[in-house]
Assembly symmetry: C2
Homo-oligomer: 243 residues x 2
């Protein structure tokens, strides 16, 4: 089953709940995941990299343990993490332990702790609230009993990994999100981010376009598994596909 | 402009944020308001009246003071309040002072205090988070730059006030919510609640149906202003209408 969720709020440490981003997290049928967190109104100093964070990874990035009908414990360790790629100071490294709880109203709470100053230093609690969306719709439509079956929705994953680049592009339903790192470039110039949305007429509208190598993202996102898709100078491999 | 918002979370006192209802609050062009808060999974003891709360009122029920571009102070005093009608113990009476703040992501936070044990007793802080919806859509579609103009959307208000009953039915876009009190019946039998949604084919689907006098709600919700609409034994007056 694919999923795509929009974050409703983020609360960290003793701060009040707020939401300054348009964060969408998506997961493919097989469990490839990506979360892009662009700031809606970046300040001047944030404009160079107008994101709170972005990360992605293969299914092994999320170890899921079912606690009860409504609750999962998920240990995350992302293969792609903008903080790691940037060697950003005072940001978490390694596994992040979280607990996810589905509310009867359909929203999903995530609680966890990060250790931005090191594993043996102060823990910072966080709370995030997620609104699951219908991946097959091109508006932000809340997932509910009237939604299309998310089991049969489109789920396509493209990846690239060569000497210079590594990247992941995940399409669920009408929503594509992608991340592409230039391996040895640990500055903003090493980060490329894509979000695109399939319109009613079948064309794709780019919603997020970031990075000097953005042209190396593919422009079509649906192809049979084990084939490849060109993206600028790169050949992206189709690692999962039900078009 | 009409508005309809779905509550994403509710946090009261020292409790953790949660959302056990499917709460929709709607406001007509002229400022008539109604908020219906049905419990999604009522417990056995809640089933007799499966609502957290319901209230409504004319424009004078909400005194709005603009604080800045994104912030309003709103003092509420509801003409219709299920707690008052039921003479429910340990619930707030009189004006509720709140502050509403629009987040850059489009959600709206509400913070305030209630005094369930009396004005000079302990105050209880609350936080509610609202997701504005596109009133013209028959799914829960988040309001955004692609939405229909909410200024021109349908806005119709019906009211009744006779010796026995008083009630208010507010339609914004495709969404109707109504409340009807039997004036001298201060039990669950004095409460009637309606929520209905206009489907794509123009028919109305009843989403909430509560109360022994539910049959006194009208069955059509759009009519010219100053006309009247029959609802069972009652004649409802059209007090606001742009059909």
């Amino acid at each position: 089953m694919v999923s795509i969720s929009k974050r409703s709020t983020f609360q960290v440490g003793q701060e009040l709940a707020n939401e300054k981003t348009l964060t969408l997290s998506s997961t493919s049928n097989e469990g490839y995941l990506i979360s892009l967190r662009p700031l809606v109104e970046p300040t001047e100093s944030e404009k160079e990299f107008p994101f709170e964070w972005a990360f992605a990874g293969p299914p092994s990035s999320a170890k899921i343990e079912k606690k009860d009908e409504l609750t999962d414990a998920i240990d995350f360790e992302f293969e792609y993490d903008t903080n790691v790629q940037l060697n950003a100071e005072n940001t978490h490294r390694g596994v992040i332990k979280t607990v996810w709880k589905k509310w009867v109203s359909g929203l999903v709470e995530e609680r966890g702790q990060v250790f931005p100053f090191g594993k043996d230093k102060e823990a910072v609690d966080f709370f995030e609230l997620w609104q699951p969306l219908d991946a097959t719709r091109s508006d932000f439509v809340m997932l509910d009993g009237n939604s299309e079956n998310q089991e049969t929705a489109r789920s396509v994953v493209l990846s690239v990994d060569n000497a210079e680049f590594k990247g992941l592009v995940i399409t669920v339903g009408r929503w594509t999100q992608g991340i592409l790192f230039k391996k040895n470039e640990h500055t903003f110039n090493g980060l490329n981010i894509l979000r695109a949305l399939e319109q009613q007429d079948g064309t794709w509208k780019t919603l997020l376009q970031y990075g000097p190598d953005f042209g190396n993202f593919p422009q079509t996102f649906a192809a049979p598994v084990a084939s490849s898709v060109d993206g600028g100078a790169l050949k992206w491999k189709v690692v999962e596909s039900n078009v």
